[in-house]
Amino acid sequence: MHLLRHAPLLTVTAFAGPVVAGLAGTLLPAFGVLPAIGGESLSLNGWRELLRFPGFATSLQLTVMTGWLATLLAVFITFAVAAVLHQRHAVRRLANLISPLLAIPHSALAIGFAFLIAPSGWIARLVSPGLSGWTLPPDVGSVGHPSGGALVACLLLKEVPYLLLMLLGALNQVPAKAHTDAARALGYTPALAFFKIVLPQVYPQMRLPILAVLAFSLSVVDVALILGPGNPPTLAVLAVRWFGDPDVRLYFQAAAAATLLLLLVLASIAAWLLLERFAARAGRRWVMRGGRRSGVPAFATLGSGVGAALFTMAAGAMLGMGVWSFAARWRFPQSLPPSFTLSNWERQFGDLQRPALTTLWVGFAATAIALGLTLACLENETGATRLQRRDAPSASLALLYIPLLVPQVAFLFGAQVLLIRFDLDATLAAVVWSHLSFVLPYLFLSLADPWRAFDSRYARTALSLGASRARVFWRIKLPILLKPILIACGVAFAVSVGLYLPTVFAGSGRVATLTTEAVTLSAGADRRVIGTWALLQAAFPFAAFLLAAWLPRLLYARRRGLA
């Protein structure tokens, strides 16, 4: 179909404009050009100020270490959990269990986690003063510890479920069960079979999500602000602080920091791809050797133990916020609030109706448009007449991933100026458009590999039976891939709900969503209010994920393998 051929170009044009403008809005000030505040000529002052900043070296080191550690740990834990559980019946329930975790916005989860692990937090309250003998909280660092440990732990809380969900989706596309059964017949344990046989087959589909996780861990702002060290903080937090400073001359070094972060992310991605090659070579030798006894099962059990602990902590963080939302007063060392009240909810109820509706419409619109564009692009790529699997995404679509790589603050100022120039800011359409820049990559990422791994024999059979390409698409491809599509939409919707800076910039503060309201209220640090809004924020994407989990089951109650 001729129309489809234009899909990639259309998609890229819709985003290349603001992306390029946004990047220009970052790169130019990094080199001293920003006429609005007097930067007329190229200069390296921004970089000089950045390098001279005390603690810059520590900040850079912290960023790299926390980003890489979080990614490596997330990957290993995900593989370990999958290795242990992938052939058990529990795996379906696992997918349903971890979906709610993805629904919680980062900042809400970070605050809940901070409350959990703080020396005056819930865990400490539960053991005081009985077990620990503390009447006052001990003066030990956990939240904001200079090592960045709390930051890494909280990143894992969200990254492991995301990677696990992607992995489970990928497993559907590969004859995992058949291969594992064959391996077990040959004497391998299921965990070892996973690592030696299944993993090499699904890893190509995991590559993009892992790279997205790497980029995110290096450039995250919300979680680093709440749990990361403050003195000095990570590079991303430095950039945000400087962009938000009333002294506008700091824009130059803020832009320099953002550009450095971008380069760091690109370098890290290149390093990861290089590491992959080595791991592949070593891995192949290990697989060929054929040993049936190894430390892998123990490692897998340990990893899944850690995974279970992570899940418990995340659940505990959510529960803590839930308890706070009903609490009147709650001081250390009380294990639970002495009195509960509904007034927190009553007070917020009036304020939340409009933002809730706005969140719903914007999320729905952004997801729908992104889905349409993604399906068009993917179908164009792997259409029914193209029977060969394409391994690499076309170069122009690589541009889609830029919003995932550039720190939001840097990208968005330039985009805002563009919107104002065309008088498009402060409208709902502008907000949907800015959300699209972030929703589309995640949706594409989640859907691309399951889509490309679609067995083309189904299409070929249908075509040979006389169906048209459109019929193949609507009656064969879509129903079979319904589950990955719904999961991808769930992820996209959750991303849209959790976006803060894009809504604020494109909406010029006029468009209020649940997240913008929650983040502004969180500046006042009242955990009762935060708990209330965090639960509300999580409710919508949670519902979307429930739908993604139940709808295929409902529709395909009588078809095995699709639900």
């Binding site: 603690g55 060290p229 938000g244 009333p246």
Partner: protein, 406 residues
Amino acid sequence: MPMLHTLVRCLLLLLSLFSALVQAQTTLQWDQIVAQAKGQTVYFNAWAGDEKTNEFIAWAGSELKARHGVNVVHVRLKDTAEAVTRVIAEKSAGRHSGGTVDLIWLNGPNFLAMKQQGLLYGPVTPLLPNFRFVDVTAKRSNVIDFTTPVEGYAVPWRLAQVIFIYDSARLRDPKDVPRSAAELLTWARKNPGRVTHPNPSNFLGATFLKQALYELVADPSPLQQPASDESFARITAPLWPWYDALRPMLWRKGEQFPENGAAQRELLNDGEIDITLSFTPAEAAVSVLAGKLPESVRSFTFSKGTIGNTSFVAIPYNSRAKEGAMLLANFLLEPATQARAQDVKSIGSVNVLDAAKLSPAQRALFDALTPSPALPTPAELGIAQLEPHASWMTRLTTEWQRRYSR
């Protein structure tokens, strides 16, 4: 003599006619503004991190709607700089009228940034009838904001002054409460890990350093002048040894700091520290009523006094609803509004008015406010110390980072 008599009487008559004319002119101007404001929508950009302040702004909006038919929309900010950035972005994009920001709640560095860049509309204070109630003599921060003359480009709204809050359940003896920087160091030595300050990259954290500087210098008058390398090194010489002695006694041994005042207040509520500070004198009382602090908290200041400043509301040069914004600014200055704001059941902000300029009925409004043991007395607040020149704060923050940001 009768000639002189008549001449004088003529002159007086002319004078009174003239002033009546001027008065009529001003009233006429205000009436025009009121008429033009009807039906406008004012986008009031204000920090929204506090529920009570949000409620107050909502109330002010409903009053304005009822009286003058002006709609007020509270644009909720996480940080005032967001609104400043927006106006800059609009100026960069060439939008010199019909801007999306009509009124901003700001002070200090944000006001300075906007005034210097020519982003404000004004002077507006001569046009506002209620400005006659404002105290411009004893509350000098109403006309001089961080040593920059306001010159009518911003309208005072609420007073802020540095206040310390402590938990009287932990510091049982009022004599233990540190009333100076030296006493604070002694107290910290006896109670390590129980006091801290926000990160100096935050406004309040930098103010802690400024306050300590005020305490430790012999003569604070050079602080009103811009700082030079030489004067900065000389004047801050006593500060760093004091801070070096204090730092290991701070919470988390001075390696970690809370991000802002609200985060530090949360630490006090959690029992991790015993003393915190704030810019809102009624913070302790308001927080107790809102359930954010235990009822045992009390306020104190240093015996030499503490730094104070004014929060303003200002109109950007490209605002779409300048008249409506002026109406809102004027409404905020009304004695009844200022009294309502001062009540600790609401936001507990100190008023910017001069009691001598009010009528007895208006003064009575302030006497009828809710009492609270956590409120500081006016005697305790005293006369606020003026904010130093903005360059001192910038240099203090940079020097602190250079020394302690590893």
